[in-house]
Symmetry: C2
Subunit: 237 residues, 2 copies
């Protein structure tokens, strides 16, 4: 059910793109997976922005790369910057004219965008808020304001979200239906972040755990720095 | 610059869609504008879900329509529900094969999705959090938990967001570039919500105010219940 036509597309024809990145970050991992799914890694040059040094909150980065002060950001060779994982995925997915990640029909697009947004709201973004507000996060030099009560509520929301996605994955093989999509990538980002903050997926969420095990076998996922690191393996140099 | 080909598409061929709606709500207004831009109003049957009675938080609504308990939701005639404004807009925009709102090229798609998400993060969603946490919101029967400090911070974020979009609109006629798009609709949603919570756009944001005045002259925008209501005009019966 996950089979699909191989992309017949010469990535070598594309100009190089720059990606402002933090290799083990959950959001950067989403774009890294999208690049690998589209066989576009050879067109991407990664530039490290150190989250723990707050480099993404520096005025130059905010003025020139991303007003919202987040990673990842894709910079085209004319200097145009595209921030936000969904936007970057839409860009990358359209390059070969075969949108395998974001959907081909109106219905596919609607379902994928809904489930990806829901994975942000109910899982990934909720864990991010917990990390930044309910834990030491990126440390006192970067976390200049914390609202722990809000952080803990978002943690609890994410735990409910895990049960929701477990129910979804009991009924269908992928988050948005019968095929792998951007929505799966977003849930993977959520579970990467849950690993970072030690918020375990409850053992009773068997369908979610089985899906995540399958996802970690995908070529686009298994060698990602965040996955290797969480599994206790050495990062590629 | 906002001119574009008329959609040659017979909306009468489409099955009816149901939209769970609250007519003056900022998020429902986004989908109402998208429907009007696509000339699809005649295919949509609206069903009122009373936010002030908390009908969107009822277990049946959450179980059957939208896990996240928000409006609007689009229901197809086979019962499939698509929630989230961006997802609904992707669905509607693709029906005629002429995606005027969400972009045609990878670059357009990337820029529109980035700017629309940024309008959510920095304006519309921030004002929504302020409404639900820093004001009485939907009233004590619906707002079962409030975090006023978080609400006030989001209000301040939205004020900064207004200055950001003012800067954007000094340099280009529409939020994502040279043509009207989903990103403009999202900022309109933000300014509708700012009107509801009496968070005025600062007078020095002249480009944003001029753009909003232009937007309120668009046929898809000017007769929306939220716009009529905020301008002190009678709602259509």
């Amino acid at each position: 059910m996950s089979s699909r036509a191989t992309t017949h597309f010469d990535a070598g024809e594309l100009p190089m793109m720059k990606i402002y990145d933090f290799p083990t970050g959950p959001y950067p991992t989403r774009v890294r997976i999208a690049l690998a799914e589209k066989n576009l890694q050879s067109c991407a040059q990664f530039e490290m922005v150190d989250l723990y040094k707050g480099e993404h909150k520096k005025p130059e980065f905010i003025a020139n790369k991303n007003y919202s002060g987040t990673l990842p950001v894709l910079e085209l060779n004319d200097g145009t910057c595209i921030a936000e994982c969904t936007a970057i995925t839409e860009y990358l997915d359209g390059l070969d004219g075969i949108p395998t990640l974001t959907g081909r029909t109106p219905r596919e697009k609607g379902m994928i965008h809904m489930m990806s947004k829901r994975a942000e709201l109910e899982l990934l973004d909720a864990i991010s808020v917990y990390f930044h507000h309910g834990t030491p996060g990126l440390g006192p030099d970067v976390e200049l304001y914390q609202n722990p009560e809000w952080g803990f509520r978002q943690r609890d929301k994410a735990l409910r979200g895990m049960h929701y996605f477990d129910t979804v994955l009991k009924a269908q093989p992928f988050v948005a239906g019968d095929t792998f999509s951007m929505a799966d990538i977003t849930v993977i980002g959520g579970l990467v972040f849950s690993g970072i903050v030690n918020l375990s997926v409850p053992a009773e969420c068997k369908a979610l755990l089985a899906w995540y095990a399958r996802m970690q076998e995908r070529p686009s996922v298994k060698d990602q720095p965040a996955i290797l690191w969480l599994n206790g393996q050495a990062l590629p140099s």
